[in-house]
């Protein structure tokens, strides 16, 4: 598929559709692919394989002002939601992007291999669902599904919500999983248990801002937490409160706009399940205001900037119980 993709991009560039492509390039290892913007000359560096997890949509924002003509973007089915959302918010101009919807059958999380004690990884052979991992300390086999990125386990499906053309087959890797499982589990806990859960998680936060900076919805030109004039600027969590504040406000600011791409949790160096905050908002929105998927179409008006006269009252939070 990678060969086919490169050939097609080259053909598109020859036709003059675009001069550059946003995709992934090879890293030091077979698994550490890196988001890249490549010209026709650099096209041989392009890689598309099971390790192209990063969501590239956000990189298009910085490319927009530089563009003369179009850029080709490789967009996985899940990334297509973020792409649409950015178009809705006028951060990306649909007209300036030639979208190749690339097929995706789930991306592998190397950290999951490491968590199984498989370290010193030198190569992986993929054969259907079986992965053979070669390491400095011998070979191991694992089931592919078990080491997919968490976001792939709640895959939004194989459909690209936007594309100019599609290359490659996709597969829904969610296996029918309920993405709100953990949210429901937390909701079922007592308030004290929830408090302890989140304290445990959020106290790991080192305020590296990776979650924010990778997030396609957190695309503010200047974040309130970086801006000395907002009164809430904050560089490190000097108190537990700051951890709560940062993550609550961040989740609130992306509520209704978050496509649930899962990048925040993927990049967190401390493994904080940040997506559970965003997913709580999504669950509430679905439950209280009707099912809504951000980025499904360009031009949607999201539920947090909308209303109906019949909306529930905020007291619904208390009434749903288990809130004290």
């Amino acid at each position: 598929m990678q060969r086919e993709l490169i050939d097609r991009i080259r053909a598109l560039m020859d036709e003059g559709v675009a001069t550059r492509v946003l995709g992934w390039k090879k890293g030091e290892f077979f698994y550490d692919t890196e988001p890249a913007i490549l010209t026709a000359e650099q096209l041989d560096q392009l890689v598309y394989d099971s390790f192209c997890g990063p969501n590239l949509s956000k990189y298009l924002i910085q490319e927009m002002p530089k563009l003369e003509g179009k850029i080709i973007a490789l967009i996985k089915p899940c990334d297509s939601y973020s792409f649409n959302q950015l178009c809705t918010e006028h951060r990306v101009d649909r007209e300036k992007v030639y979208v190749i919807g690339v097929g995706c059958k789930g991306k592998i999380d190397v950290d999951k291999l490491r968590a199984r004690g498989i370290t010193g990884i030198t190569a992986i052979d993929e054969d259907g669902d079986t992965l053979t991992v070669h390491t400095l300390y011998g070979d191991e086999t694992v089931n592919r599904h078990e080491v997919l990125l968490n976001k792939c386990l709640t895959c939004k499906g194989k459909e690209h919500r936007v594309f100019d053309e599609q290359i490659g087959e996709s597969e829904d890797t969610s296996a029918g999983a309920d993405r709100f499982d953990m949210v429901k589990k937390l909701e079922a806990m007592t308030a004290q248990e929830r408090f302890e859960f989140w304290r445990g998680e959020l106290s790991k936060c080192i305020r590296c801002n990776a979650c924010r900076n990778v997030c396609p919805a957190c695309s503010c030109v200047k974040c309130v937490f970086d801006n000395p004039n907002t009164g809430v600027q904050n560089k490190a969590a000097a108190d537990d409160f700051e951890e709560n504040m940062f993550h609550i406000i961040r989740a609130f600011h992306v509520a209704g706009r978050c496509t649930d791409c899962g990048e925040c949790s993927r990049v967190c160096p401390q493994g904080i399940p940040l997506h559970l905050l965003n997913r709580k908002f999504i669950a509430d929105i679905d439950d209280l205001y009707g099912e809504y998927q951000a980025g499904e179409e360009i031009g949607q008006r999201h539920p947090v900037i909308n209303y109906t006269q019949e909306d529930c009252e905020p007291s619904v939070v208390r009434e749903r119980g288990n809130q004290a």
Binding site: L136, I206, C208, P228, A236
Partner: protein
Amino acid sequence: MKKLSLNSLNQWLEGIAGERRVIAPIEAADQVNYGVWTPDSKIRLDALRTVKSAKDAFFPQVENMMNFRAEGKNLSVEMIDPKAEDFVILGVKACDARSFDILDRVFLSDPYDPFYAARREHATVVTLACGRPDENCFCVNFGIDPADPKGDATMWIVDDTLYLRANTEKGEALVKDLEDADDAAVKAQQAKTREVAEKLPFARLNLKGFDGDHLMEKFNDPHWAELSRACLGCGTCTFVCPTCQCYDIRDFDTGHGVQRYRCWDSCMYSDFTLMAHGTNRPTQVERFRQRFMHKLIYFPSNNEGMYSCVGCGRCLAKCPQNLNIVKVIKALGGDEA
């Protein structure tokens, strides 16, 4: 050489902890980080890398420096006494152990940092040799021997036995009551570790040309733009790095006064060293370049060739978009060995 059964580890630590805090790699909420050990803690000496490095023990992410108190229109200033209490930091790997030397050069030279110094003075560093380096490790490039780390005392784990060797008086005090042991098992493990270390993918980085003489050449290298393109500008690499030592000093208005504290800063941030006129590193290219120029050129040229990278591999493992110092070294000519 002394030894201790791993089964008795807790017992030994309880003995130490009676007198002082013990800081060790502890697993909490699925992550291993240095933390204060208690008998209930899940100690993880086997973990190759903690997420954050051991530098926190001496240079915490946030620390208070002084307080201003307001009474009506009057202000009073309260300085924080930088005194520290004795503590033991245990399980430090060779790379992190080297990082202390690097941090010492920054914080213990003029202007002397009393907060850091007090902690260094009160610490006993117990290191742990690596038995199973992974593909991201490249400490050997900086003359670090993962099989024989420095510190007040050094530990090896072979099967179920913890071997200990005192290197200083502080270390001696810690291990003196333990059972004597033969060092054959340790030697055998060291040989094996060194063999693996030499075969690691990044064991042979060529650092020729990464010195003050080539400053302008490296600074103006055309690769920076490409290298930094995917950089998100997050602070992950700097915050997990054992040698990044930049901090910011900020004031927090408590409503009753002001707390002046310092906290880690990251050269990857747009507001790093922000000045009245704005920032002097306006794009991520300059910010990205700053970090690596500092580690590989500026620091060594001011410190007799000592790089401020220890090859711990944290930035390789943690960068969200897989950027790292090895890619930089290779792109800037270090791949010719």
